[in-house]
Symmetry: C2
Subunit: 353 residues, 2 copies
């Protein structure tokens, strides 16, 4: 089967993070006779290890999870799980890895051992952690790790990357404000909704030139129009490119929330990327014109793997990721496959340790 | 049974509006042998009509419904329906009417026919409408209608009232803002949460000296911290003392919402009170020092009944209405009972037509 066939099959069975049971079954079926060692990670993750007896290992990571989105692409292979859709290209990422596995299984001039990582739950917190804390991953301990992610608005079929922080770190912000619950006509001193709204207006912030974004997507306060709420909860996202920046912004958020009688809790999703300059130069990818504010828990692998490289495969003029209409021309998968194949056969890359 | 016993029995079986089935059963049981005609109104309302062959009729209204509140009074007769509590005194109001019914059934020098109204769902929209649109009520067509409502912070055991608009009209405000749903990093033009928050900050308003209140108790927007919401909904309350004021404030709300790309819908709960000056003077109630911003759908009866009088029975220094700790000294019920009995036997009152 080629990458396109795998992609279509996986697209049909879209599943949310940590629930990728059918997807796991599909992957296990696809790789079972390929001569690789297979390890399960958590409930749904899969590692496929091709041990060619080489001295170093390159790992390749694809995410397995889809999104809670009702697909509106009208594709003949649209998701059969209503309300769940591969709208972030993870099906394509898996398909390219399965295609690489097939090539590897047929014997070819590979210069390193290869670990294929099928990772659960990139869209949730904890997917990459599941892998990097697994004994099998830690024993194999790849020197290099690569990922390809589809990217709308980049030139179709072309691979892009960069050095250092090419995509953002991401933290979830939860701000809570407790108030006095009372009949709306009571003169209360502490209105949770008012405090949350004032905090929101004073905090929503985007400084794109500085590569920082603080925005909120959800506010829930109260139960009725005639009762002041006992709680208002505001959920948002911080995107940043450096840890000191994150720390100083967190302090500002805490101070602002305190001013309005609230509390802020910050949950780290993923640190900023830290792309290997050496691998970037050897990869032959084009250089991104600017870092992107998207986040990916691929950066978590950077904690245990010395040389990470995150690459973007342009889909051209398509709907954005996470759109219910996201679709792309499958012919681009070939360029991703070729890049992966190039990497496992490049002598200089296999010596980056 | 005296008013206190009725009060305790009704307090135990607190039920929400339009679901007062046990309460209705209790009332029917209490009045079945009292010689009055009994009419059912809607599913749970009850009319008890004492036709003494007089030329005019005084009606007395008590509400039947409780609130979705988990009682924390610790009373030995606390609500047995978990999550539902008589926290607005409706149990006491019904008890005083049942006590009056007992006196009427024993024969006494009454100068008018008496209609007792046990009305469902004062706390929801539509309770009073259920009664005023019922054929039995319209046929009986009382000339005068009275209600007593408990009121914390007024002198304990004393009855208060006033002329004209002594309590506010109330409308529910629902403001909706549609926005672009997208990943939080997208540069969207129309952020529903931001629009709702700015509308809220610019609209929350209380001008007590003018007897106007516009406040919001609930804001719901979005589903996740990393997706901009497609909808933000803000629910609030308008309290006012005159129709022209309501109309002009509604126009201001509509304009403000439009400025932020939103829409406002106003749902009337009850118009302002319109107390009969003649009845107030004859009632012997003390005069309220100022109108109160609370609303009661008792005002709906003013549409069909020429002489309404709403009276407040002070509970003194008790927790506020709608508090999960609301309780009061039952000895005050006697003062309410005596006032009702005074009204049905007052010659001048029976001639107010």
């Amino acid at each position: 089967m080629n990458a396109s066939e795998h992609y279509r099959a996986l697209h049909r069975i879209a599943e949310e993070g940590f629930c990728e049971f059918e997807t796991k079954k599909y992957i296990l079926g696809a790789i079972e006779n390929m001569g690789c060692a297979i390890y399960e990670v958590g409930k749904t993750g899969v590692l496929a290890y091709f041990d060619f007896g080489k001295s170093t290992t390159s790992a390749f990571r694809a995410e397995m999870d889809a999104l809670p989105i009702t697909e509106k692409t009208g594709l003949p292979f649209a998701s059969e799980n209503v309300g769940c859709m591969h709208a972030c290209g993870h099906d394509a990422h898996m398909a390219m890895l399965l295609s690489l596995a097939e090539r590897l299984s047929k014997g070819c001039d590979v210069l390193c051992n290869v670990l294929l990582i099928f990772q659960p739950a990139e869209e949730k917190r904890g997917g990459a952690e599941t892998v990097v804390s697994s004994p099998d991953f830690l024993r194999i301990a790849p020197e290099r790790i690569f990922a390809i992610h589809l990217r709308p608005q980049l030139e179709k079929g072309k691979l892009f990357s960069g050095i250092g922080a090419i995509y953002a770190g991401s933290s979830e912000i939860v701000a809570t404000f407790c108030g006095e619950q009372a009949h709306i006509t009571e003169n209360i001193k502490n209105d949770a909704l008012e405090n949350a709204a004032r905090f929101y207006i004073g905090t929503k912030y985007q400084a794109k030139e500085e590569g920082l974004l603080i925005r909120f997507g959800r506010l829930c306060a109260g139960t009725a129009g005639n009762v002041t709420p006992c709680l208002a909860e505001l959920c948002g996202t911080m995107r940043y490119f450096s840890e000191p920046e994150k720390i100083s912004e967190t302090e500002i958020l805490l101070r602002k929330a305190k001013k309005y009688g609230g509390e802020v809790h910050i949950f780290e999703y993923a640190p900023p990327a830290r792309n290997s300059g050496e691998l970037f130069e050897l990869s032959g990818c084009s250089r991104l014109s600017e870092p992107i504010l998207c986040a990916d828990d691929f950066s978590v692998y950077g904690r245990v793997c010395p040389h990470p490289l995150y690459m973007l495969l342009g889909t051209g003029d398509t709907p954005p990721l996470h759109s219910d209409e996201f679709a792309f021309d499958e012919s681009i998968l070939r360029f991703g496959e070729e890049k992966l194949f190039y990497i496992v056969r490049n002598e200089k890359i296999s010596k980056v340790i």
